[in-house]
């Protein structure tokens, strides 16, 4: 019943490396196609997670329709920032995990906490082999009434909290969350808070685009919105005339 699941020390047995290079396989990598921030907050009925749909290639916004929020099983959603190919690989591992769990047919299924723990082990063990999956993951879900929201980074740092973010979101969104998040927000309040943070990220993160998805996980199930655009404001006198009164144009 076990397929080829990731295991400790796996990186050293690279299955697809058709290489004759002598010495240990070196895998220290660089990210190529990357996603930027993922945001997550708990609210009254569950968890909300949001991300834009950009896949950047260095400074170029190369792909504008990359879905960085994916469901895993019935109770859990994973959002990823960082290298997209590694995220696609993680989804493949989680898919196999969920399938394996389903095949037991024992009336039980994995909770978001279980999936978080599994991902933590993968990320940390690969980090120890100098072959990381170059992602920061946000895991959220609801099971048996318990709301769960956590983060795993590419070096295996893991934690849970009432509100989380990855990348730029840590610097721009978390302070907003610290000020304005409170226990038992309604769905409308939660979305408003996320959209406020997403708007700031669009203004101030060069890798962000104005095309976002918000996922809502509740006891009833998971719903990921179609991509949509945020309202932005540029109509300020100071923007139209930034250098009024200044000599020169700066």
């Amino acid at each position: 019943m076990t397929g080829k699941q990731p295991y400790v020390g796996q990186a050293l047995d690279s299955p697809h490396a058709f290489t004759l290079a002598p010495g240990p396989t070196k895998h220290t990598q660089y990210p190529y196609v990357t996603g930027t921030s993922v945001l997550g907050i708990k609210y009254k009925d569950g968890v909300l997670i949001a991300a834009d749909t950009a896949g950047s290639y260095g400074s170029t916004v190369r792909y504008k329709s990359v879905e960085r929020l994916k469901t895993c099983g019935k109770h859990c959603l994973i959002g990823a920032s960082g290298e997209i190919s590694d995220f696609q690989q993680i989804l493949s591992y989680v898919d196999k995990l969920i399938l394996n769990d389903y095949m037991w047919d024992d009336g039980n299924n994995l909770s978001p906490r279980d999936i978080h723990n599994y991902l933590t082990r993968i990320m940390y063990n690969k980090r120890n082999s100098f072959d990381p999956l170059w992602n920061t993951l946000v895991i959220g879900g609801v099971k048996n009434g318990e709301k769960y929201l956590g983060v795993v980074t590419m070096i295996g740092v893991h934690y849970e909290d009432n509100h989380v973010a990855s990348g730029f979101g840590n610097h721009l969104a978390r302070p907003i969350f610290r000020d304005e998040w409170h226990e038992n927000m309604t769905l409308e309040e939660g979305i408003q808070l996320l959209e406020k943070a997403l708007t700031v990220l669009f203004y101030r993160d060069r890798s962000a685009i104005n095309k976002v998805q918000v996922a809502n996980i509740t006891a009833e199930g998971i719903n990921i919105s179609e991509p949509y655009a945020l309202k932005t404001n540029w109509d300020y006198k100071a923007f139209k005339n930034p250098t009024a009164g200044a000599v020169g144009s700066w």
Binding site: A17, T60, S65
Partner: protein, 228 residues
Amino acid sequence: MEEFGCEWNDAPHSMGTTIMAVQYEGGVILGADSRTTTGAYVANRASDKITELTDNVYICRSGSAADSQIVSDYSRYFLNQHTIQLGRDATVKTAANIVRELSYGNKSFLECGLIVAGWDKYENGSVYSIPLGGTILRLPFSTGGSGSSYLYGFLDQAWKDGMNKEEAEALVVKAVSLAMARDGSSGGVVRTVIIDSSGVTRNFYPGDKLPLYYEEIPYRPTVEPMSA
């Protein structure tokens, strides 16, 4: 022992390149330039960067020539076995995923950006982009190679959904020619491959027959010898 290497002789063969694939109503169009360079020298001015993987699936290659060739060869080998075992044509999705397995699994060794496109009876035409790193994305159209930098703005404006075969091919030829006009690593001729339910058609657009753009001048044989 002294090093005798010259940078232009010894630099790895790279396909600076402009590659592109577009999905249309009944199939796909693949397009590419034909320049292969070793440093600044054009090693091959008429390369064929659109390579066959199966009867119904082709691949556009960019980046390191050696890397893209070996990935294509292994993919063709695995797909050949797969087709025999499956008993019918491989799907474009399967072909693209085999290319991705190689690209992702050897990511620290390879430097090639690939576009896999073709026709199968389940999805009709499909285009899969497999950039550096081994991400796989199905898209209505995709570009790659150094020349593609010059096409983002052009295609944002010129690509429309629901093009027919003639419009799609015209777009590919125009885009690749525009990139060749500005990218030093792209040039030569434009090759296109059209794949649909009835099979594969190859087209050839020689470099001197391509449209001329800003500050380019036509060839005119001199009628009078130059006067003193």
